[in-house]
Each structure stands twice: as structure tokens, then as C-alpha cells.
Amino acid sequence: MHDLVAEAQTGSVEAFEALYRAHQSGIYTFIRSQVREAELAADLTQQTFVRAWEALPRLRALGAFRGWLHRIAANLVRDEVKSGRARLEVTVTSLAGDDDEAEIEFPAADTAETVVVANELRDQVRAALAHLPAEQRAAVVMHHLEGLSVTEIAHALGVRPGTVMSRLARAREALRRRLARYVEVEDDLL
């Protein structure tokens, strides 16, 4: 990976393509977990790599490429949220039983809806992930799906490692509660 980054820094399109192929799914998954629209997620993913290409000659720590790339992505998502351009989607909430005041919440940046799935468990896990607050969800996606270290996540999100740990811990508690039916079993195949 170091070699690819160094080669891309000299202007090699082939090396940059290899970097893109290696990191696109991680970046896209992260952005998609923060921004509702698939089209917007794709657009932000492209912008991430465009900015990375333009800033690549200035990157000194070649080993930090992945975390650096995530930082670009996180900043783009944050700017999108701040500007209000992120499309507003709506979640309908209603009281169980008598719905006196059904209320629909639509946060500026919330998780993407699940893609079509065939497996109920995967549905439930994705739904549980979707219900996490955005900042916890970001840490979980980066850590569990992409394998970033706590330090890399902290750098990407501009927070302290302790804050990342705290978000991961709270997210884990919330996921455990939402997936209680699936985790309170003795089946250690899970």
C-alpha cells in the first residue's frame, strides 16, 4: 500500500486506480451509513477521491493513507449536513396503541435504509445499526466493517481516542439491546 501511495503521488493514474479499488467500498459504506440518498453517497464518495487525488502530493505519512482518506470523507459528510443540502427524509414514528400524536422525525443526516436483503438476521442487524446516533454509527462502521483502529477513527472524525472508545461502548450496549433476541442464545456460532 505504501508503494501504491508513493507511486500515485508521482501522478500514476494506474496506482491511484488500485488505491481506489482497495478503498472505495469502505468509503462508500461509511458515507452511505451517514447520508440517506444513494446518489448523494456516490457523489460524496467521488468527491472524496477527487480531493484525495488533489491533496495526495502533500501527504507525508504514507502509512496513514486510509485514515487520511476517511477524514476527507467525514469532513465532506459534515459539510453536507451543515449546509442543509443533504436530502431530508422522514421517519414516521407513532405511539404504540392509541396514537395521539404520531410524529415523524427527519434528521438532517441519518442512516441509509437497508438494501434489499434476503436474510432476516442481516436485516435486523442493519436496522439496529441504523437506529444508532450518527456519531456512534460512524465509529461502528469504521471499526467493525472497515477495520480501522481507534486511533485512525479518532483522526478521521477529529475527536480523541477516548471519545471513540466511549461511542463504541455505548453503541455496543444499544446494539446488544436491539438484537437481544439474537444474542441472548447459547449458540456460539454467532
Binding site: V81, R87, D100, F106, P133, T163
Partner: protein, 337 residues
């Protein structure tokens, strides 16, 4: 020209570095995170001015790693507030009732707050026998402090705080009279007692796009064309028509508002501005408490912590709530067309 570019770059980097390293802001954010790190028990006195009327209460406080419990006493009244990180729960011990209040999951941008406000350490002091640093937070470039925080040196926990509104009036103040950081409050303190009656909680349902929302709402949801400087979009919510005729009738009997309403919320990083829109025809159950139907073009209420402004604009009624001057409130409301 090259020198000018280098100078500009240097100034931008310095500004960015100064913001990131601002010790007063760092202390503020540490104090925001302190409740997640500490356990304590204590006693506070809290005061608030609501619509011109002063309110005061004392409360026993329990904090345990992000969870909070307050057992209030004001005269003969007792009530409790639980915050377990997911929900706010109001307990009424006399009736053994628990009401789950919405706890919005809103994401506030610290960089936005630092852009719009300046934090300053002013002096040291003592609260509940503990040394504290006093930090003032004021709008950047103009205005009197809006918050004063007395931050415990050892734990970064806020032991006293004062909040002032845009007109410079003190609106809320809370002070710890005693605090014990060695306390380990039991987990049961942050749970609703099993013998309490719980009101139903909200559950999530389907999701809609904005166009579908507007189609369901039956009225156009407009964004404001004017916002006070520094405010950006934060979140929104929509209340549809009650689905069942019985629920609608109950709402009318209670005098609760029924019928659709859409809310957009904006923030400058620390304060919130809410803009509620609904169709102009008032629901039948919406009785005026003081015998006056709200038909006037502009109505204003100064509640202390915030002001409320209502106006009718064509086919919609707009209600704006925020800690703004009356002029700014009017400008925002007039910009929602």
C-alpha cells in the same frame, strides 16, 4: 503575489490552529463529556424564570457514567427526572406514574459553536468547597456572555452554571450546594420503578422522502429564506393527522393541537431556532385559553429563555421559537413564504 498567498495561507492556518487549541473551548468540551466519565451524588439549587415568573427548586442529584437522576422538591411538590442516555423519564411519585419524554438525537457541530461564540476563562472560584475555573461564552464579535460555567478543576464537571438570554437577562441558574465524587449510585436509581404506570413509548415506523412527506402533509413545507447569522439546519419533524377518529376526538377534548404540522430546527452550534408550519385552518379543538382566537397577524410571547412569534402567512400559520431579538424573530417568520 506569491508572498500574499503565503501570508493568507499562514493566517488561515493560524486561525484554524488557534481554534483547535483554544484552551477555554477545550475546557468547555471536556465539561460536556464529564457526565459520561464521573459518578457522583449531590444537591443542587436551580432557578428559572418562566414567562416572567421565578421558579426555584432543590434536587438530589445522582450521576453515573452518562446517566442522570434528579429528585426535585419545590414546596410541597416532588418529582423526578431520569436521563438514561436514550430517554428522558419524568416520574410522579405521588401517582406512581412514569412519562417517557422524547429525547431527540441531535448532532451539534462544535466547530460551528466555536465559530459563532468565543470562550474565555475569567477567574477561579469555589463551589461546594471545590476549586473551579469560571468560563464565559459570548457571541463572537458582539454581545454579553450567554453562559457562565463554573467548572470543577479535578473532574471538569460543571458545578454551577448561569444562562442569559439575548436581551442580557439571567434566565436559568443551577448551583451544586454539595457534591460527592466518590459516590457510586446504584443502577436501579436510573430505572423506572417496576410499580409505576408507564405511558406508551414511541415506536418507529415507515420512512418517507420529502416529496412523499409533502404529499402526505397536504400543504407545502417551506424553508426560511432568512436565518440569523451563523444558523444552519439541524433537524426536522412532522406531525401528521391523527389516524383514528377517536384519537382525533380525544385530542380535541384535551385541547391538544391536531392536524398536520411540520417543524424545521436550526442551530448556531449552541442555541436552537424552531420554525413550525401548519395549514391555516385551526383544528376545532384548539381552544384559546384567554378567550381570544389567534387571528392577529403577529403575536409575540417573551418566555425568558426564548421568545415565541406566531403569524399567519397566506394558507399557513407559522410559529417561530428561539432566543432572538423580536426583530430577528419577525424577519425569520416573514422569510417563510
Amino acid at each position: 503575489m506569491r508572498k500574499a498567498r503565503l501570508l493568507l495561507l499562514f493566517l488561515l492556518l493560524s486561525a484554524a490552529a488557534a481554534r483547535a487549541e483554544d484552551p477555554a473551548w477545550k475546557a468547555v468540551w471536556r465539561s460536556e463529556e464529564a457526565p459520561a466519565r464521573v459518578s457522583l451524588s449531590g444537591r443542587v439549587r436551580t432557578k428559572a424564570t418562566l414567562e416572567g415568573k421565578p421558579r426555584e427548586a432543590t434536587a438530589e442529584v445522582y450521576v453515573s457514567h452518562g446517566k442522570l437522576r434528579l429528585d426535585y422538591q419545590a414546596g410541597a411538590r416532588h418529582w423526578s427526572l431520569l436521563d438514561n442516555g436514550q430517554n428522558l423519564i419524568r416520574l410522579q411519585p405521588d401517582q406512581k406514574r412514569a412519562r417517557v419524554l422524547r429525547r431527540p438525537q441531535l448532532a451539534f457541530d462544535r466547530a460551528l459553536a466555536e465559530r459563532n461564540y468565543v470562550a474565555r476563562r475569567t477567574r477561579t472560584d469555589t463551589v461546594a468547597g471545590r476549586p473551579v475555573d469560571v468560563i464565559e461564552i459570548a457571541p463572537r464579535g458582539h454581545g454579553n456572555p450567554v453562559w457562565r460555567l463554573w467548572v470543577d478543576r479535578a473532574s471538569s464537571f460543571v458545578l454551577k452554571r448561569e444562562q442569559y438570554n439575548v436581551d442580557g437577562r439571567l434566565t436559568t441558574a443551577t448551583e451544586y450546594l454539595a457534591v460527592d465524587f466518590s459516590a457510586r449510585p446504584a443502577a436501579q436509581l436510573f430505572e423506572t420503578p417496576a410499580d409505576y404506570t408507564r405511558e406508551p413509548e414511541q415506536v418507529r415506523g415507515e420512512r418517507l422522502g420529502l416529496e412523499a412527506l409533502v404529499a402526505r402533509a397536504g400543504f407545502p413545507v417551506r424553508r426560511p429564506r432568512y436565518l440569523p447569522p451563523g444558523y444552519v439546519f439541524l433537524s426536522g419533524s412532522f406531525r401528521p393527522e391523527a389516524r383514528e377518529p377517536r384519537a382525533e376526538a380525544r385530542a380535541r377534548l384535551r385541547g391538544s393541537p391536531s392536524g398536520p404540522a411540520a417543524t424545521l430546527r436550526y442551530t448556531d452550534g449552541l442555541r436552537i431556532l424552531s420554525i413550525v408550519q401548519r395549514p391555516a385552518q385551526l383544528p376545532r379543538g384548539n381552544t384559546a385559553r384567554r378567550g381570544r382566537a389567534p387571528e392577529n397577524p403577529l403575536e409575540v410571547v417573551d418566555r425568558g429563555d426564548e421568545k415565541v412569534l406566531r403569524r399567519r402567512a397566506g394558507d399557513r400559520v407559522i410559529v417561530v421559537v428561539g432566543d432572538l431579538t423580536q426583530d430577528e424573530l419577525v424577519r425569520v417568520a416573514n422569510g417563510v413564504e
